[in-house]
Symmetry: D2
């Protein structure tokens, strides 16, 4: 049993990590921190977990962390993680960081997109971007995993197979994402107030979403060419779930549907959490049918008349888009079964 800590355990990503780690047979959660709820039971803020944890939230302490844990999941805000990671690594702990602080390889991009002078450019090289479907081999034994969020994960996994095949105009990709309210985290705001948020179909951060930086980095890694993509997220009226509709333009009209299908199947062959969808009753992915699970369902639609292809990916934003993927990457890094703690079929109807 590996002793693990969850730092920042009171948010939704922290709560989801705790839910998953409670089902994980190879780890024991020994330390859960929260600035606000230190000293209080886990269930006070995560009522679903009543009965699953007999430890309370703690204040983070550098003394305790080394003694309590071998691996650390950081569910902290951006620009906060960066202050924890170097020292945790120095102490010999493995770190799975769910913030954006170590996702980009190029420190210049932090300046450009985050107005942030990254203080540890060397660590950026060591970090492995935590999508096992793309970086499986590098994740083995990784000490620092930079685990991506839902907009990025959904967009990358939708676009990857076709970008890899070099059949698209690489400069004109748009990821029109639709995402549920839990993506915004556990802090109430005007925009998340139920009467305002329910029934919304609301574009947000639609003019230069900064996750485009990591998406372009990964798609360039896959295609070995320059890629430009624009993210246009929309808040829709579910709690969980994200659908990325990645619209692209074919550079040739030679290919037919079956060939697109084959390219996708081939790209994801052997990947446990990818399901390629093409059917009668349910022709395209819908996040509704992956809720509560770590699956990503992938599909596509082609309109040859205009040369447009749309690649769809559906995920549960707190699972494959956050905590589930972090556990999956951790499993790969440790040589565990990739789906340890993640063998739950999606909940339906839900």
């Amino acid at each position: 049993m590996i002793r693990v800590a969850v730092i920042g355990g009171s948010g939704y990503t922290g709560g989801e990590l705790l839910r998953l780690l409670a089902m994980h047979n190879k780890v024991e959660v020994t330390y859960i921190t929260s600035r606000e709820y230190a000293g209080k039971p886990i269930s006070i803020i995560h009522p679903n977990l009543r009965g699953f944890y007999n430890i309370n939230f703690s204040q983070f302490s550098w003394d305790k962390i080394g003694e309590k844990a071998e691996a650390v999941f950081l569910a902290l805000p951006h620009k906060v993680s960066v202050d924890y990671v170097p020292k945790l690594l120095e102490m010999g702990l493995q770190v799975v960081d769910l913030s954006a602080d170590f996702r980009l390889k190029n420190p210049e991009l932090y300046k450009l997109w985050y107005e942030f002078d990254h203080p540890y450019p060397d660590l950026l090289k060591k970090a492995v971007y935590g999508i096992p479907e793309i970086h499986y081999e590098e994740l083995k034994g990784a000490k620092l995993i930079a685990s991506p969020g839902c907009n990025s994960t959904a967009t990358i996994l939708a676009a990857a197979p076709l970008v890899y095949s070099n059949i698209l105009d690489n400069y004109r990709l748009i990821s029109d994402v639709k995402v549920g309210s839990s993506e915004g985290g556990a802090k109430p705001s005007e925009g998340s107030h139920h009467p305002e948020r329910q029934n919304a179909i609301r574009p947000y951060e639609a003019e230069g979403h900064r996750h485009a930086a990591e998406v372009e980095q990964e798609l360039q890694y896959i295609s070995k060419k320059e890629v430009k993509i624009s993210l246009v997220p929309h808040a829709v009226s579910t709690i969980r779930g994200a659908l990325a509709s990645v619209h692209g333009w074919l550079i040739s009209d030679d290919l037919n549907e079956i060939e697109f299908w084959k390219k996708i199947i081939e790209f994801y062959r052997g990947r446990k959490f990818v399901r390629v969808i093409r059917g009668n009753i349910h022709p395209y992915p819908d996040p509704k049918y992956v809720i509560g699970s770590n699956f990503v369902d992938i599909g596509f639609a082609v309109e040859k008349r205009v040369g447009r292809i749309t690649m769809f990916s559906a995920i549960d934003n707190l699972m494959k888009g956050a905590a589930g993927q972090a556990v999956q990457a951790f499993n790969v890094s440790r040589g565990f079964e990739e789906d340890e703690g993640l063998r739950i079929p999606p909940l339906r109807p839900a």
Copy 2:
């Protein structure tokens, strides 16, 4: 008072027409037909209208229609309206047809998109496409109004100002539409069953949606150039509301935000039901804030880095996307105040 009939009064569009006409000071609804509910009170199928109508549903009769009404709203399925319209016109009745049967000018397009040999190509020329923001003058005195649906209306009104300005790549437009469940009509199906439909984020008819035909016709009318557009609708988890996110590519990077803004304002100057949105708390349109009203809220987002512009339009799919717009066009055709029967502010929160 003009005596009007609603043919096909039991569906959602029919019900919405009845709701609006009950508030209309210039008309009296004298005849409401339904094959299935003939002889029964209106409120049996529209429980919201209890107390508003003291006539029952009737079977349609050619004898009655001429005697009862001067104007007829047809809320019938596609390819059914076509059998009613010519004779109603011959009888001297004005027709507002909410089906697709008279929306396209070119009969060839019916073959291509609907696999339908249109029997009355001459009438196609007489019909006025019922978006008053585009065809205001032609609607005056119009005898046959072809009133469009929500995907088309939302897409056309979002794209119109910029297509008119000739600043986009006309061959690479995508309308990624998100729409609520009432768009599918009042007939239950597997896909509309509440446990399957609620929380869905589900692409549908994503490979050549036939409403692209009328959208292209109208955008070409506006821009005087060829336009190609692809519609990719998504079912999301509200009852009412449609948001069109029309993604386009700028052909030059000379223009700035203020100029886009001006072009939109200019294009819609004096149009009662268009509200152009650009703000702090609510920067983009959200159908949530037009529910129950005939407004279309218009906005946009630009990402100059990649030359992408997204034009947003938000409507209530049963109002500006169906019954409301039909009443608005009817008002224009009759010389009434454009907003007669439609002076209801949107419901909020809802």
Copy 3:
């Protein structure tokens, strides 16, 4: 045109008043106050009202109010209204107060239920409890209207006809209310955060809800006997709508269904906003079918085997349960048509 002010115009009740008064032909809204948004346009906080008001929010001023308005709607929190009402009345203004501050006749009850020593017991006698279905005659010419909220209104209107008939055990009434999220107002909180509030079925204030005081006062007024009732509200997953299921025990088993029906019909005869429901497809009231309107739908269910009767009432909590009823009572007080500004059929589907 009567010049009216809305004091506390930025909340949901204030916003709904503004929406209704914009459709009201006998009033002009000349003054809208908000401490937080003074100087800003109405639409900044009520995006639905964009285009309907060309005045901004003001800071409340005793100088201005007298000059600007003849009647004042107070949409202020409890224990705040009480500081405005006496002086407004002295200034000769009519007051419609939507707080609880003047609803109870007996000042002792404010001590008991609100821990509040009411400073103006004399004014309590002058105030008219603002349910026109109960106090129609007293409302005529009323200078101070104490307009009730949704739990009270729904419960009173459900229970009234049978309590009036003296056929129930008056000491064992329970109003199990189900209500949407807008009832909690416009301020975000942990409990109203969308991911926590959506899909909730959550009892609250279930051990001595203080609105029982006014409900008992009104039911005793109607029945001329002592009545005890317990309110058990539940937050459910809509934005608008409240259903009260008032469970009671019959004191005799002589009566049959038709007689209950007759008693209800008789009690509400001539009341414009009451619809009594008993049908096949929709046998009981559902707030879904009154949304956006001022109607209350009333129905009942009897189980003679155990002597239980449940009386149901369905309202839109912001309309008949708040702003709509306030306007209705104001109309009666002024001798206007009771439904002036309120002639909107419910929105469906919504």
Copy 4:
């Protein structure tokens, strides 16, 4: 590994059984029947289960069932199960029947409540009512388990501790249940059509709900006295989840809150799936926090002023209210860990 069959595998209860049995370490699902989908893959109708089953739906066959399975879960409609059970038992198979056909001990009650002359009164005696919290010992080795549904389970588990304590007026109990749409099953209907069902707060079967029969049977078993209870279910706007608010009247006012609390704790001591709730942030049970799990959260509210107590229970209607409880009872019958296949914490937020 025990080989099990699921008969009637295409509905929601069948699908949920398949989801749970896929995680169960002691069983193998060898046979899944569906009249409508025989020959087709499981995922065609349960898209969430794509990748979990490599067998297809079969037509039920008496030859196959004996050969394929040792235990059978029947997810069939009422009055259909009754034709399968006797022969399956004769063949030596264990039967977990999720219909109402073997829940009542007294055949007269089938006449009264179901207008049904039960053909196998002897089998009624052998069947064990499948709530392990009530019938744990009898379930051990049980050959026929009559597994109850969500209204009954929620009501019984809420009422049991206090009915057991004999502190209530046994003749005046009301269970006001609020339940999500999945309770109605997978067949679309007018009432389940999304635009009609979403946002509903709709009483149904409110005048003599027949599940009162089994609830009274069980509460009499627990209290050893006659009990009368009335069920008043309400359809609310979630997919999963049921809350029973069981309203009762105390026969004495001697008891205080702590004593109620103790009685409940005592009654459920050692029961793995019961969580008794009494807290600050979440004072009462909410089905939202048991979704996806087999837990029942129990709580209560007292209003001593009027002698009213409300007992709340919150369940996931497809889990503790159907498939989860069936698996739990099966586990007990087989001597497995009670929570085998059911060790999933509730999903949150969801």
